[in-house]
Structures are given as structure tokens and as C-alpha cells.
Symmetry: C2
Subunit: 338 residues, 2 copies
């Protein structure tokens, strides 16, 4: 591959001049500009980014970090959506995207990730950082690598969705339909800050309606559709009086729907099911799933914009995105019984 030097030779000038022309740094004549451009053209020269990175200390690469915790990273439709947002912002600005999926153990992220972080290979980081066990951004902060968290990280720049509001809205909706026997399908507490907030939101709404939230039947799934189906079965077998199921993500809600169909339980006539996330398949489920849209795309976009502000030396403000209740057809008033 041709180098700056070869271009310089060909154009009959020094490398410094070529560099100036290419970076549009003042003080070169139109004539030399022409010569240089011509040489660049003929050789098909393109700068070596590694060299540039070394010299400038900037790589134009930002790292996207999806730690590998409860789930294979890319099975979560939200991740995909976030990535889409990040990607859009980056490519708009001519930045490249380095994907990192560190293992996250209690003592911190894995060595591979740390090497990347300290390598000078990325100008900044956008990280899904939302679990209590350990923060992937902690080491970044220690090394002064600009970073934005998607999640609940009060000590960092962050963006997250208003999960409390979302949870509350969801519960208010169910209560408003008239349900009182409500089962909750959640995940193990302490796995994820967002879900903890959603639960808190449910609780707020429940207690505002005079229900004792702690007495509502709850069960812990593992995020997946299959686990949702299983949880629905267990919950309904143990508490046949349940008329509504609030699931803390859409995949588990879809699982619940799946179970209901197999068990011959009509949704929403005999059982209401609501989810959380508004993943794309929620819309086409049978029946279409009532859920909370948490704007994953926007999450990715915002985080990336904030990172760019950081890179531009301006202090970004952390953001909390509002959620929206998406009413479809999987929930209805309970049939009056007994």
C-alpha cells in the first residue's frame, strides 16, 4: 500500500506538505495542492490509520461494550436495536465501531477487554452497563477513557429509560382494567437495575391502589421466551385466581402467551398478559402484545451523541428517556366471576 512518503516523492514535495494539503492546514499554494492531489489519485493513497492513531493519539474508533452476562449477547432484540442506534450516529460522523463483549465476573471484566481499554485503540466507549455485580466502566474511568453508560450508573455519564415510570404505567393500566389478582414474572433480583426499577414502579402503582404488592404472586424467569412459558405455567397452577400477568420483558410475555395457547387459556378473555420493551415481534404476536416501549434505538443514539460531546470536550447532561404504554390486544378487563 502506498505511503505518504511515496506520494511526496511522486509529487516532488516533502511529506509534511502532503500532510498539510490532506489535512487542509494553511499555507500551501494551489499549484502544490494540485500536484499532491494528482499523486494521491494516481497511487490510490489512503492514510494508514494505525500510524495516524499513534501520532495523534486518536483513532476514530469507538468501542461498544455489551457485557456477556445472563444471556448470549445478541439474542436480546434490544441489544440489536441499541446497536443500530449507535451505528447510525457513528457512521454519520465517520467513526468506526469496535464491538466488545467482555465476560463480566464479580472481580471485574476480563483481561481481553482491559487490554482493549488500555490500548489506545478506542477513543471512547458506549457500554451497556446496568448490572450491580460489576461495572465495565469502572476501569474506563480509572484510565480516563471517555465513556457513556446505558443503564443506571449515577457516577458516570449515563442514559437510561424511565423504568419506574414504565412499570408504574403498566400496573396502572392493568389495575385500571379492573384486575386485582395479578401475577408478576420477573428475573432474579440484583441481575439488572432496570428491572428492579420496573418492579418498584409496579409497586408504587399497586400500593397507590391499595394493594399489598408483596402479596402478589411473583416468580423469577431467565429473560428467555421458554422461561416465560414455564413461569406462566407454574404461576397459574399455583394461583388459579390470577387474571393478569405482568412480565418484565417481552420475550417472557411472549412465552406466557405461548403457554396460554397450549393450555387452552384464552387471551385476553380469560387471562391478560402484558410485557415490557416493545420488541418487534410483540406487534405480531397473537394476540398483539400490550407492552411498554422503551426506545432502545434512541438509547443507543443518545449515548453515542453524549460520547461525541465528551470527545468534543463539552460536558454532556445525562438523560432519562420517557417510556410509552403501547396498548394492543393482549389485555382486557377480567371476566367477573364467582
Amino acid at each position: 500500500m502506498p505511503t505518504l512518503n511515496e506520494v511526496a516523492q511522486k509529487a516532488g514535495v516533502s511529506t509534511a506538505t502532503v500532510s498539510k494539503v490532506l489535512s487542509n492546514t494553511p499555507y500551501f499554494s494551489e499549484a502544490t495542492r494540485q500536484k499532491v492531489m494528482q499523486a494521491v489519485e494516481e497511487l490510490g493513497y489512503r492514510p494508514n490509520l494505525a500510524a495516524r492513531a499513534l501520532s495523534k493519539g486518536k483513532t476514530h474508533v469507538i468501542g461498544v461494550v455489551f457485557p456477556y452476562i445472563y444471556d448470549r449477547v445478541f439474542t436480546d432484540p434490544l441489544v440489536q436495536r441499541i446497536l443500530e442506534g449507535v451505528e447510525g450516529e457513528c457512521s454519520q460522523r465517520g467513526y468506526n465501531l469496535l464491538l466488545s463483549t467482555p465476560q463480566l465476573a464479580a472481580q471485574g471484566p476480563d483481561e481481553n477487554y482491559l487490554r482493549l481499554l488500555h490500548s489506545g485503540y478506542v477513543d471512547g466507549l458506549v457500554a451497556l452497563d446496568n448490572v450491580p455485580v460489576a461495572s465495565v466502566l469502572e476501569p474506563a474511568r480509572a484510565r480516563n477513557v471517555p465513556a457513556v453508560a446505558i443503564g443506571y450508573q449515577p457516577h458516570a455519564y449515563y442514559v437510561h429509560s424511565d423504568d419506574h415510570q414504565g412499570g408504574q404505567g403498566l400496573m396502572e393500566y392493568i389495575l385500571g382494567l379492573g384486575h386485582r389478582h395479578i401475577g408478576v414474572i420477573t428475573v432474579r433480583d440484583g441481575l439488572n437495575y432496570s428491572i428492579r426499577q420496573r418492579i418498584a414502579g409496579l409497586q408504587t402503582a399497586a400500593e397507590a391502589a391499595g394493594l399489598n404488592f408483596a402479596e402478589l404472586p411473583q416468580i423469577e424467569g431467565r429473560f428467555s421466551l421458554a422461561s416465560g412459558a414455564e413461569c406462566a405455567r407454574t404461576l397459574l397452577e399455583q394461583h388459579p385466581q390470577i387474571t393478569a400477568l405482568a412480565c418484565m420483558n417481552d420475550r417472557m410475555a411472549l412465552g406466557a402467551l405461548h403457554y396460554a395457547r397450549e393450555a387452552g387459556i384464552a387471551v385476553p378473555a380469560a387471562l391478560s398478559v402484558v410485557g415490557y420493551d416493545d420488541i418487534s415481534s410483540a406487534q405480531h404476536a397473537v394476540p398483539p402484545l400490550t407492552t411498554i416501549n422503551q426506545q432502545a434505538l434512541q438509547l443507543g443514539r443518545m449515548a453515542t451523541r453524549m460520547l461525541f460531546e465528551l470527545l468534543d470536550q463539552t460536558e454532556p447532561a445525562s438523560v432519562v428517556l420517557p417510556t410509552e404504554l403501547i396498548i394492543r390486544a393482549s389485555a382486557a378487563p377480567p371476566v367477573v366471576q364467582k
Copy 2:
């Protein structure tokens, strides 16, 4: 961030020695090893990858290229799955993943991508390269950047799934059920080699059964679920005698299912629908979708392994992966009528 030099100073040796110790190049004593390691430890030293890249000409980064054609890149569940495969192989070997989503115009990929390609920033490329308009790997070949295509690129190292076999299997299955009035939902020809092959497969099977394939009603969708629904409507309104719909991807098949449900057409009793891809939501559709599994995960894995072989200077063999017919519940024999 600490540099090699600082480590060397602290350990009281030369940078060359430190470098040797760290890369385990022969000829240093246990004593110096200890000193060096201690210094590394205390300073928290980690190599600057840009410098290393410049010096060695290797970055340990491979580029994953998903050109941006008919669709926003990450909306296709297959892309996600392929990415998962690539990611797994890479992180196993300590490689990092750079994501590139070039715009693909007739005259070739965009400048941003070319810059990346020529930058020396990636050691190799795995590319979804499967469209007739232009190849993203063409410029890679021109620059001698090792690359593997996922798709039909006979001039390159490639891996693709046996779409002809898949299409044929799908059609044989439908014919075997007894259908003769079969509608085909495809995409604009020339958009995608794989789909062209699938169609060829359908045709092979149809003609083996004595059907004139060209006379079967066909319509072109745009990959998406919504377009599938629309196509199903059009096709069925124009050709009410159709008893089965063969869709060239699952999303359009899901759309067809969606339309059928709305229109009150019972699947599979009154209409059989089959898809292609076996995306995860196919399994949970109502009714569960009969489709062809094309092993997207494996596609990503294989391509990456081939790339690593290439990087190891060994000539990889291109691969064609077999497909598998996944029989679920969206297709059944036609009701004998008239």
C-alpha cells in the same frame, strides 16, 4: 498511560528486553523476567495497540462488513445470528471486531469503507457479500486484504448455504402434501443471489413434478413482514385458488400468516404457508412456521474460521452448508375441493 519505556526504566533494563519478556522471545534470565513483570504489574502497563499495529503490521482486529442495501442492516434477524457466530470465533482467539456497514452503490462501496479497508486497521474481512450490484470484497482483493465472503462469490473464498437444495426441499415438501396451486412470495430478482438460488430450487422441484413453474403466481415483496402481508393479500385476491404460499424468507411468511389471520383464513386448514430461514420467532408464530433452517450461526463461524486460516497462510476450502427442512404446523394437505 504507562509506556514500554517507563516499564524498562523502572525495571532497569532496555525496552528491547521488556518487549522480549512480554512476547516470550528467547534469551532472558528468570531474574530479569521477574523484574520486568514486577514493573509491569506496578505500573499497570498494557501495550499500546496502535503502536504495535504500526510496528508489526498486524492489528488483531477483523472487520465485519454488512453492506447496507435493501434494509437497515440490523433489522434482519439473520444478520444478528451471523454476527453472533463471528463474534464467538473472534473473541475465542482474542481478536477484536470492527463493524462496518458501507453503503453499496452501483459504482462500488462508499469512501468510508474504502478508507477502512486501506488503512491497515483490519487484518482481514468477513463480509456479507451476496448481491449482484457490486461486491464489497472486490476492493479488498485489489488490495490483498484477506477476506471471506458470506454469499455467492465464486472468485473469492466463500461460504454460503445450499439455497438450491433448500428451495427444492421446500417445494418438494409442499408438493408432497398435495398442493398444486402454489403462490410464491419472493423479492425483486437480482437483489440477492441466495434468493435466486432458492427460486431455482423451487423450480427444479416443481418441474420434476410436472408443474410449469413459470405459470405459478409470483409476487415480489421487500423482505419485511409488512410487505409479506401485503403480498399475501394481493396474491390471494388475484388467485383465489391458491392453497399454499411459499415465502422466500421468514419475515414475509410471518406477514402472510398475519394477513391470513386478519382475513379469517385458517392456516394450515385453508392455506398452507412456508417460510425460509428459521428465524427465532418462526418457532413461536401461530401456527408455528414450517421453514428451512439455513444455519446462520454456522455461516458466521465458518467464515471466520476460514479467515483465520487465511491469516495463518493456509488455503481454506470454500464451504457450502446443507439446509434442513423444519416441519412445524403451518402447512398441511389441501382440502379436497370442488
